[in-house]
Subunit: 203 residues, 2 copies
Amino acid sequence: MNAIDEMVRLLKRLPGMGEKSATRLCYFLIKSDDAFVEKLGESIRDIKKRISTCPICGSFIDESGCPYCNNPERDQSLLCVVEEPQDVMSINQSGAYNGLFHVLGGSINPLQGIGPGKLKLQELKDRVSEGRIKEVIIATNPTEEGDTTALYIRNMLRENNVKISRLASGLPIGGDLGYADKTTLIRSMRGRVSYSSVPDEID
Amino acid sequence: MNAIDEMVRLLKRLPGMGEKSATRLCYFLIKSDDAFVEKLGESIRDIKKRISTCPICGSFIDESGCPYCNNPERDQSLLCVVEEPQDVMSINQSGAYNGLFHVLGGSINPLQGIGPGKLKLQELKDRVSEGRIKEVIIATNPTEEGDTTALYIRNMLRENNVKISRLASGLPIGGDLGYADKTTLIRSMRGRVSYSSVPDEID
């Protein structure tokens, strides 16, 4: 069964996909309607040709161009710095932010040989030096590497006349104190906010 | 981001795929190498054109024809009856069986309006009546529907001069008594085998 074996072999290269789930997915596709399977296949085949990265902010863009840069409906004085292009979409989908983005392409990780020179940090400095940005919001991951990168950016932009902030760390909403790890608890304790400044409703 | 949104919408129709995992898979594909993504896309797009079902046994077949029917290396006197085409591959891959197959296309399920007439039961009767089959091994699922179907087949083939057997039910190998459900325990108790007939080694 060349066709099935071949597909299973390819599907197994996807994350979290073992032999069993790949086989099951293959059968699901064989039983699905023709139009859906054809569309899905073509969508996958063409995705890399359709998606590129914005030369200014580093977000994923398609034929319609960058939806963030030079968009007059977005606040051109706010710049949110993230590690990866997918972080742009997560933050944008949250609806809590309507400014510009800057994708670093990773975080500083000496153990993996990723120094500041491998990230789009000089480009960040250049963008901020143009003078239109009023606040840089650092949204690197709350990990050791993300923290190091955030600190590096804070020092790098010290002489620029911009406000620098970082996304709050703490207990995830809907979470359970009993399941929170120690570091998260320490962070949420240190970063505790006085009751009057807690928003009444989350929208 | 039409290209990404479109792919996520399609991927979400796959089993066990939510918004988050579809989005993650989409980014994984964007970052994968061109040749792999193209091959995977084409493999999915073409799968339905390449796969059909054998008109005799009902297994999935591709351009190279049915690997079971009329294969002189397989025992033409054994017929294994299964519910779905994927069951054929599971049994074949186990290596424990080297005879012919017969796919019913489901199991008797009155609640879902699936009576015997909707399954390939008459075709089974016809194949057995040809006289070359010596044993019919019923490999329907160990569920209420599978049991009903097995019983139906046993009655249907009563007048044919064939041995009829059914796959053994019991504790799965590597399982834990504490996690076995009641019905499995009852089945494995009722179907207990005397020690001398237990094979020393499982190959």
